[in-house]
């Protein structure tokens, strides 16, 4: 039995900062700029925020953020762990707080100087400061050091099982880039990706080449979650959360679940999908558009299967048939994704999914978008959410 939160929390404000490779400001500055932007979008004052939800990886203490923003009393703060797995995880925290009345107005945010500060592509080399050190120690001595290398291991296996080729990954990269071309806030705005550039790019960790990997970005993203009652009186069309789930599956490791009977099933996403669909009373066919976590191109393919948009082994054909494109069955990552807009750990995805349901995406599909899926990272404890219009 899954919890029933359907329509108990609404997203009323969203915002991104400018995305760049060198923000020139602190991560705290990015966080408060994003949250202030989301408040403005909602038509509320930061003083009305009484709760925060973010990532354990975020360096911005809630009380620092609150002081900088000029917030009043807080009654809730919650953090979600596991890197990009916390994208909808922090939304999950906010929804629980609002649905239970622990807080009335929660700001979900993530802000990082991911390029000019700590770079994720450097992986776990260098100083290991976390309690995960022993876990990473099973991989570091061999040179299996970076997110790309861990994802490559899963991808190689999945390609072997399904026969899917790099043509499908190219379609994910190319199609996502097309969306970024027309998004002025995207790093790759105005820069299409052609076949030669993609296939000739340097190998990062076989079979992942440069353009299979997301960027490293500086920036912040935030959304404001409050009650549907309150949402009705605010500026924007009301977007509610139909379902939101977190999931960690048996044999779960952080990025390195290499000891399961099958290592390429992304079981955690299958659990999150089942819970989200059951919670929302919706099916895959009800989802009109999606923001699917794309730290790497194969992430999208494995999730299309896990979230049941196609059967196992069919994700390659699904994307090659043009289904992720603006006129396709499931327009996906319409902001340009993390591959081509910016890598803000999926919280720019929460912003985009909200805009899709509002009808405000920079690449709004021609068809009606009643429900949008947004998901978190792949290979880690993760989650997803289905957003929709208030019934």
């Amino acid at each position: 039995m899954v919890a029933n939160i359907r329509d108990k929390a609404a997203i009323v404000g969203v915002a991104n900062t400018a995305f760049s490779k060198d923000s020139g400001v602190s991560e705290l500055s990015l966080a408060v700029q994003a949250i202030k932007g989301a408040c403005d979008d909602a038509g509320i004052h930061p003083r009305e925020i009484d709760g925060f939800a973010t990532f354990t990886l975020d360096t911005n203490d809630e009380i620092e953020v609150a002081r900088a923003l000029g917030c009043g009393d807080l009654t809730f703060w919650g953090r979600s762990h596991y890197g990009g797995g916390a994208a909808t995880g922090s939304l999950h925290q906010a929804v629980m707080a609002v649905a239970t009345g622990m807080a009335e107005c929660v700001a979900v945010f993530r802000a990082l100087n991911g390029r000019s500060g700590h770079r994720y592509s450097q992986g776990v080399s260098g100083e290991l400061l976390t309690a995960d050190a022993i876990h990473w120690g099973w991989y570091t001595p061999y040179g299996l050091l970076t997110p790309a290398s861990w994802t490559a291991m899963i991808t190689q296996r999945w390609m072997h099982r399904t026969g899917v080729t790099k043509e499908a990954m190219f379609e994910v990269a190319r199609c996502t880039r097309e969306y970024a071309v027309s998004n002025p806030n995207a790093f790759f705005h105005g820069q299409p990706l052609d076949r030669d550039t993609y296939f000739n790019a340097r190998m990062i960790a076989d079979p992942l080449q440069l353009f299979d990997c997301c960027q490293e970005s500086d920036g912040g993203s935030a959304i404001i979650v409050t009650t549907p009652q309150r949402a009705r009186d605010l500026k924007q069309p009301v977007v509610t959360v139909k379902g939101v789930a977190q999931a960690s599956a048996q044999g779960q490791e952080q990025m390195t679940s290499f000891y399961r009977d099958e290592i390429s099933d992304v079981s955690e996403h299958r659990i999150a999908a089942g819970d989200c669909y059951e919670m929302s009373g919706l099916r895959p066919s009800d989802i009109d558009a999606a923001v699917i976590y794309d730290a790497f191109t194969p992430n999208v393919l494995l999730q299309l299967e896990a979230w049941d948009f196609c059967k196992f082994g069919e994700a390659g054909d699904f994307v090659l048939d043009g289904n992720l494109r603006p006129d396709g069955r499931l327009p996906t990552n319409t902001h340009g994704g993390q591959l081509s807009e910016a890598y803000i750990h999926g919280v720019n995805g929460l912003v985009e999914a909200t805009r899709l349901v509002r009808g405000q995406s920079v690449n709004q599909p021609g068809k009606q978008v009643d429900h949008a899926l947004v998901t978190s990272g792949v290979g880690i404890p993760t989650g997803g959410a289905i957003l929709g219009k208030l019934d």
């Binding site: 876990h135 570091t140 061999y142 050091l145 296996r157 960790a205 290592i263």
Partner: protein, 318 residues
């Protein structure tokens, strides 16, 4: 250096990537028993294949060979180098580094690959180029750049004998704490070790002693890896271990091409390996090209010392 100055400097430095340091040049002396004997004595290498002509005559080869690791010695300049070295693109590049304050020099890695044996009478030819220059790095020695030369050795028939990659760090020397000066040995980067705690220290200790162990539940006998304090099947805290025969099969694999991490071989191949005992293990595949690895490939492992401080399971094609 301002960003503009740095850019101007890097434009000049990176222009050296791919530049030939020397065209194919013959060694001053042909491969000969005297130099082989001096080298083997200095190294303490008593392998009769190098120095014992009678033994070698009865061996499969029928003659002595030069130690493969001696490859680079044949083309060394010798004593004349003390009177100064003729300039070449490499010395020009080093001079440019020095001009900009990168006066520190530290040889970090040498990697040799051997393709063919040579014997007395053969002549080795050397050609060399500047293969790569890293981006600017902050190292413990100071800010600097790693450059790598690629030397290719061939014999008098033009057949490839081997290659040598030599990586050097050129850096702006920093004031070293007094304790670090004097005759302290320079630190060469090594692989990032696993921290050793209560639940995993014993496993790494066994690797140091040449054994690959697999944790086993004492109550229900189920094997588990990586080690953890409790059995997931029966919740027993009692465990012992078995020694793995180190035979396995590739479940999946990849090769970390970028970024290059100091202390690691170039392009290490990593794999998830299903051991014959049933548990999975992550380790390196060595002894074959990446392109020859496939899912389902059979492997045989050994515990090997891979650098000055690190001992690891390494797997070879079975």
């Amino acid at each position: 250096m301002t960003p503009e100055e740095q850019k101007a400097f890097e434009d000049r430095i990176y222009a050296y990537v791919g530049v030939k340091v020397c065209e194919r040049t013959a060694a001053k002396d042909a491969v000969n028993p005297a130099m082989i004997r001096h080298w083997a004595e200095a190294m303490g290498d008593t392998n009769p294949a190098y120095t014992d002509e009678t033994w070698a005559a009865n061996s499969r080869r029928g003659k002595t060979i030069a130690p493969p690791a001696m490859m680079y010695a044949w083309n060394q300049e010798g004593f004349t180098v003390t009177r100064g070295r003729a300039s070449d693109p490499q010395t020009d590049m080093v001079e440019l580094f020095n001009e900009y304050g990168f006066t520190g020099v530290l040889g970090t890695n040498v990697t040799q690959e051997y393709f063919k044996e040579v014997s007395p009478g053969d002549t080795l030819y050397l050609e060399m180029e500047i293969d790569s220059i890293s981006e600017r790095k902050a190292t413990a020695r100071g800010i600097g750049y790693f450059f790598e030369t690629l030397a290719t050795f061939s014999d008098q028939n033009g057949e490839k004998v081997g290659t040598q990659r030599f990586r050097v760090l050129k850096f702006i020397p920093q004031e070293q704490p007094t304790a670090a000066t004097g005759d302290d040995k320079l630190e060469v980067p090594t692989r990032i070790p696993s921290p050793r705690g209560h639940d995993n220290g014993w496993w790494w200790q066994a690797v140091d002693e040449g054994k690959l162990l697999i944790q086993r539940c004492k109550r229900c006998q189920v094997l588990r890896h990586p080690p953890r304090p409790m059995c997931g099947e029966c919740q027993s805290l009692e465990w012992d271990s078995i020694e793995s025969g180190m035979e396995g099969e590739v479940i999946s694999y990849t090769c970390l091409r970028h970024p290059a991490i100091p202390g690691y071989p170039k392009d290490p191949v990593c794999a998830v390996i299903k051991l014959a005992e049933g548990t999975n293990l992550v380790a390196n595949i060595v002894g074959c090209d990446y392109d020859d690895v496939f899912i389902g490939m059979k492997l045989k492992g050994r515990i090997e010392q891979v650098d000055e401080k690190t001992t690891l399971p390494q797997f070879y094609p079975a």
